[in-house]
């Protein structure tokens, strides 16, 4: 996983509440057995005027001119501003893959759905929570200023605005460490192999029926 320490990037809006993962990556793309290449299909139904199909060339599809992420001013954005309950619904990690593949490494919103938050961290995307009032300020500044950028510092846990204001944010200590070092969870957990084995032995004695072979 790509480590995340500091990032300075262009900001783009997804200005609606309850953005669900179906909206982020529609189901037809879930047929893929790969984990890359979903970027062009991020927000597919909003982004294009026609219906997307998996494994197709998206470059010649008609873009929806009213969708903000298609506006020239937001091209190459890497930080997404969003509203309440971002990433709700389906557990599909394809949503996080699509965001990352489209160049986003940070989403800032008042709140996130649990499963999406976890998927985001695992794919090098930092979800930052600011209050609704703070979000209103960020959205307003971004709409006002073309080329609006933010500087995100995970080490210091602050976001610095163009006017120099620095807003601090909270982040789970474990997730922060993983992101800072680009560590993958499996490797970390396997350091506890002894503990897992020891637990498993006791567990199997307590609940032997859970350890029968699964014979269909």
């Amino acid at each position: 996983m790509q480590a995340f320490t500091q990032h300075d990037g262009l900001v783009a809006p997804m200005d609606r509440a309850n953005v669900d993962t179906d909206l982020m990556i529609p189901k037809q793309f879930l047929k893929s057995i790969k984990r890359s290449g979903f970027g062009p299909n991020l927000f597919d139904e909003l982004r294009y005027l026609d219906e997307g199909v998996p494994d197709a060339d998206n470059s010649s599809r008609p873009l929806n001119p009213d969708f903000p992420l298609n506006f020239p001013r937001y091209q190459n954005a890497s930080i997404l501003l969003a509203r309440e309950n971002f990433g709700c619904g389906s557990s599909r990690e394809h949503a996080a893959w699509a965001l990352a593949d489209d160049g986003f490494c940070c989403v800032i919103a008042p709140s996130f759905a649990d499963i999406f938050r976890s998927n985001a961290f695992k794919n090098g995307i930092l979800p930052i929570e600011f209050s609704s009032e703070q979000m209103d300020v960020l959205f307003a500044m971004m709409y006002e200023t073309e080329g609006f950028r933010l500087a995100v510092d995970l080490v210091a846990q602050v976001v610095t605005l163009p006017n120099g204001d620095a807003w601090s944010f909270e982040v789970d200590a474990f997730r922060r460490d993983c992101l800072l070092q680009g560590l993958d969870d499996v490797g970390i957990t396997l350091q506890s192999t002894e503990a897992i084995r020891a637990f498993e032995e006791i567990h199997a004695r307590r609940f032997p029926w859970l350890f029968e072979d699964l014979v269909l």
Binding site: N85, G89, N119, F174, V186, S192, A195, H203
Partner: protein, 482 residues
């Protein structure tokens, strides 16, 4: 100290607690399907790792399968969609390579992962259960700690038999009294989401208690816990009681006779102690819950069938007004219109929410001896598993659906997420027993109204939403009418 059911399940599976506030939780059962597993198996291969404990895993294809008998008769190789075929074949191959038990597409036990898990006894009370699917919350109905995970976590569980978790908070939803006749677990679920909102349960384990919940069958409890995720809660829970024990007994993978007594003794402790602390609690009067219909593009946008679509003037602020406007626009509805004026074009009875035998019985009871309104363009009944299908056929339910003019399909997720050919066309409106009414969920541009099986059946007959009592008493809307 008095503990909640969630606390007890957590403690029994806690491997290690870390200073940073995270914990390692041991996973007893891992359910696998074709859509969220391929990349996890690939990750495992690339890292040269093997599954930690093979027999903890059970796989089944469901999301992306055809539900047409004609397409399934020829087996995997004959499926028409090549992209789907590759994904299904990849699941078979991975199970083969990694030595994981799989119920193949051709097996009568195949079905939606959340239907077949409990049905086979692969999910039992007291277990920790995960699956790369958010509706894993379903299994909490058995008093199991069950929640959905992403694909990275699928790989993590395969490799380590554990999950890195932070303990959730406890949320009690107490439903007192009884549900009225004609009001089902689905209506209760939608009413609860309408009350607490789609983020109301975020960060919580949601325990459903109270007399009205205890009175639910296991199928009803599964419907309720299934929808916990639509309230933002990764897991729903119902305490173990006689209904649970009765359900688990005799399931193919249930504990052997010699182990049953020990299992039962542990399972009987799986309820929240008196005086246990809940971080949040709400009470709902069971008799006050009415049959529900969702009108918008989020499961919290619900009204009772005798109610109306909200008016812009009823919204508390501008954000809410914008949200309502967008939803009405997408759904093609007018503010303030009566729910009973909404006319669906399609009917879908199925999904892990409502495709069990009871759900089919509930729908069939309304449809018996009746015909689907001529304005309905498609009406699918998709049983949750081959076992449910066989049971329904033994009871003659299939004939009731067919006689009414509906299609009787093979098991799978079908039009719940429309990955296969079962889908709405743009603008089509569906009365659906599934769980998500997001934009495009049932097909690009499709419009979903979430309802109970009885309501879907009533809408099928009447050509509009109607209380079940109105079926037969009032004349239906037909293709030529209105």
């Amino acid at each position: 100290m008095a503990q909640t059911l969630y606390d007890k399940l957590w403690d029994a599976h806690l491997v290690e607690q870390r200073d940073d506030g995270t914990s390692l939780i041991y996973i007893d059962r891992h359910l696998i399907h074709e859509v969220t597993s391929a990349q996890a198996f690939e990750g495992l291969s690339l890292a040269g790792r093997a599954p930690w404990r093979k027999s903890a895993n059970l796989a089944v294809p469901d999301h992306n399968v055809s539900t047409l008998q004609t397409e399934r008769a020829g087996g995997l190789a004959a499926l028409p969609d090549p992209v789907s075929r590759i994904q299904l074949q990849t699941l078979d191959d991975n199970c083969e390579t990694f030595g994981i038990a799989e119920i193949p597409l051709s097996d009568i036990r195949q079905g939606i992962v959340h239907v077949i898990g409990p049905e086979q006894g692969a999910v039992l009370p007291g277990m920790t259960v995960v699956c790369g699917d958010s509706h894993t919350s379903t299994h909490g109905a058995l008093g199991a700690l069950a929640h959905g995970i992403g694909t990275s976590e699928v790989e993590h569980v395969l490799a380590t038999q554990c999950l890195i978790q932070k303990k959730m908070k406890n949320f009690k939803v107490e439903v007192s009294g009884r549900l009225e006749a004609g009001v089902s677990a689905k209506d209760l679920a939608l009413a609860i989401i309408g009350r607490i909102g789609t983020a109301g349960g975020t960060g919580y384990a949601l325990e459903f208690t109270g007399d009205a919940v205890k009175a639910l069958t296991m199928e009803g409890r599964m419907t309720l816990c299934n929808m916990a995720i639509e309230a933002g809660a990764r897991c729903g829970l119902v305490a173990v009681d006689e209904v649970t024990l009765e359900y688990a007994r005799g399931k193919p993978l249930a504990p052997k006779e010699s182990q049953w007594a020990a299992a039962e003794a542990w399972w009987r402790t799986l309820r929240s102690d008196d005086g246990a602390h809940f971080d949040r609690a709400i009470e709902i009067e069971g008799s006050a819950v009415k049959a529900q219909v969702s009108w918008g593009t989020s499961p919290e946008m619900v009204a009772s069938v005798d109610g109306h679509v909200p008016r812009l003037s009823e919204m508390p602020d501008e954000t809410a007004r914008q949200g309502l406007k967008r939803a009405l626009d997408y759904m093609g509805l007018d503010e303030g219109m009566p729910i009973t004026d909404i006319q669906p074009d399609a009917i879908f009875i199925g999904s892990c929410t409502n495709s069990r035998i009871e759900d089919l019985r509930e729908a069939a009871a309304v449809l018996k001896g009746r015909r689907v309104s001529s304005r309905i363009k498609k009406a699918l009944v998709v049983p949750g598993s081959g076992v449910v299908k066989a049971q329904a056929e033994a009871e003659g339910l299939d004939q009731i659906f067919l006689d009414a003019g509906m299609e009787w399909r093979e098991p799978g997720c079908s039009m719940c997420l429309a990955m296969n050919a079962d889908r709405l066309n743009p603008g089509e409106r569906c009365a659906s027993t599934s769980n998500r009414n997001f934009e495009g969920r049932q097909g690009s541009g499709g419009r979903t109204h979430l309802v109970s099986p009885a309501m879907a059946a009533a809408a099928a007959v009447m050509g509009r939403f109607a209380s079940v009592d109105a079926v037969g008493a009032v004349s239906p809307v037909t293709a030529g009418g209105e």
